[in-house]
């Protein structure tokens, strides 16, 4: 189990704070263990209820992207918290959502190993090189393989984030504690193509 050093936490919070100040409208900033309940509360907080996503499909896409980012953190973050009540270990990280009249900007952040970093870098490069149609084929191929018994998870989340946001998935890394890396994944959802 890894806990970040206080100074790293401070740097991280300072960066989040800066991002918040630079945004048009900060609508979500969360840091901590991402449990299923957290996810449900986030959905409610952003008014991503059915009635509202029905009016505005960019909100439905925002919800999809947040769910995949949150579940990636839950399953793969190297910063983990133990919940004695449910006897579960859950990944921790942060989520940030900014809103401007043109777009939602979404950012997820958590700790990863250097192996995860290498895999994520090549995954993002591959995904960003693909057209929408290619991405769809890639998603379907990966999903088909994922139902094979020996599959170890196909990383569908990242492809889904790119497909729903219709924007590149941008991965940034900086050195973290214990030879780990802070991994920041960001993307944006344009609001004018929301009904395409």
């Amino acid at each position: 189990m890894t806990r970040s050093l206080p100074s790293d936490e401070l740097t991280q919070l300072r960066q989040l704070h800066e991002a918040a100040l630079n945004s048009n409208k900060l609508i979500l900033l969360f840091k901590g263990a991402i449990t299923q309940n957290t996810l449900i509360r986030i959905g409610g907080l952003l008014h991503l209820t059915h009635e509202e996503t029905h009016q505005d499909f960019s909100k439905k896409r925002l919800f999809s992207v947040l769910v995949e980012m949150a579940q990636n953190i839950l399953h793969y973050s190297q910063e983990r918290e133990f919940f004695p009540k449910s006897h579960s270990v859950v990944g921790a990280g942060s989520l940030l959502v900014k809103e401007s009249p043109e777009a939602f900007e979404i950012e997820g952040r958590n700790l990863v190993t250097s192996e995860q970093k290498a895999r994520l870098e090549s995954r993002c490069a591959l995904i960003n090189s693909m057209t929408e149609e290619k991405l769809r084929e890639f998603y379907l191929t990966q999903r088909r393989q994922s139902t094979q018994p020996q599959s170890k998870g196909a990383g569908l989340g990242l492809i889904e984030i790119a497909r729903k946001s219709k924007s590149p998935v941008v991965a940034r890394f900086s050195e973290g504690p214990n030879a780990l890396y802070y991994y920041t994944l960001s993307t944006r959802i344009s609001r004018d193509c929301s009904r395409n």
Partner: protein, 129 residues
């Protein structure tokens, strides 16, 4: 088959009507762990298909599912598909809200991978919990 699962915020309702032979999934799906939820349904369904040869319709009235649910749905459909060769009386009806292109194309994507007849039914609004 005694399937009757109530919907939650993160899982759909699932119910089987023996009279019409319709198994319906309705709501949204993004549980923390999709596998146990769908595995149970898949097992019940396979047991039912082993014993019964009457027609079966799978109705999907989902307004959202995440990628791990999507994986489980594909696995479930694959397990049903295996029975189709001998009986040819299983079909899928995919309901979607008429302006929700994402949900419509998700259904089309399943129909390309699964050898079951798919019917696509646009509706004004899907009922939700």
């Amino acid at each position: 088959m005694q399937l009757k699962i109530e919907a939650t915020t993160t899982t759909p309702s699932v119910s089987f009507d023996p009279a019409s032979g319709v198994l319906e999934f309705s709501g949204q799906s993004y549980p923390e762990d999709s596998l146990p939820f769908y595995q149970e349904i898949q097992d019940e369904l396979a047991a039912h298909l082993e014993k019964n040869s009457q027609p079966l319709t799978l109705d999907f009235k989902l307004n959202y599912f995440n990628t791990s649910s999507s994986k489980c749905l594909l696995t479930l459909l694959e397990s049903v598909e295996r029975f189709q060769a001998q009986r040819e009386n299983i079909k899928v009806r995919w309901f979607y809200e008429e302006d929700d292109e994402d949900m419509h194309s998700s259904g089309i994507d399943f129909s390309l991978d699964i050898l079951l007849p798919f019917e696509f039914i646009p509706v004004k609004q899907l009922t939700t919990v």
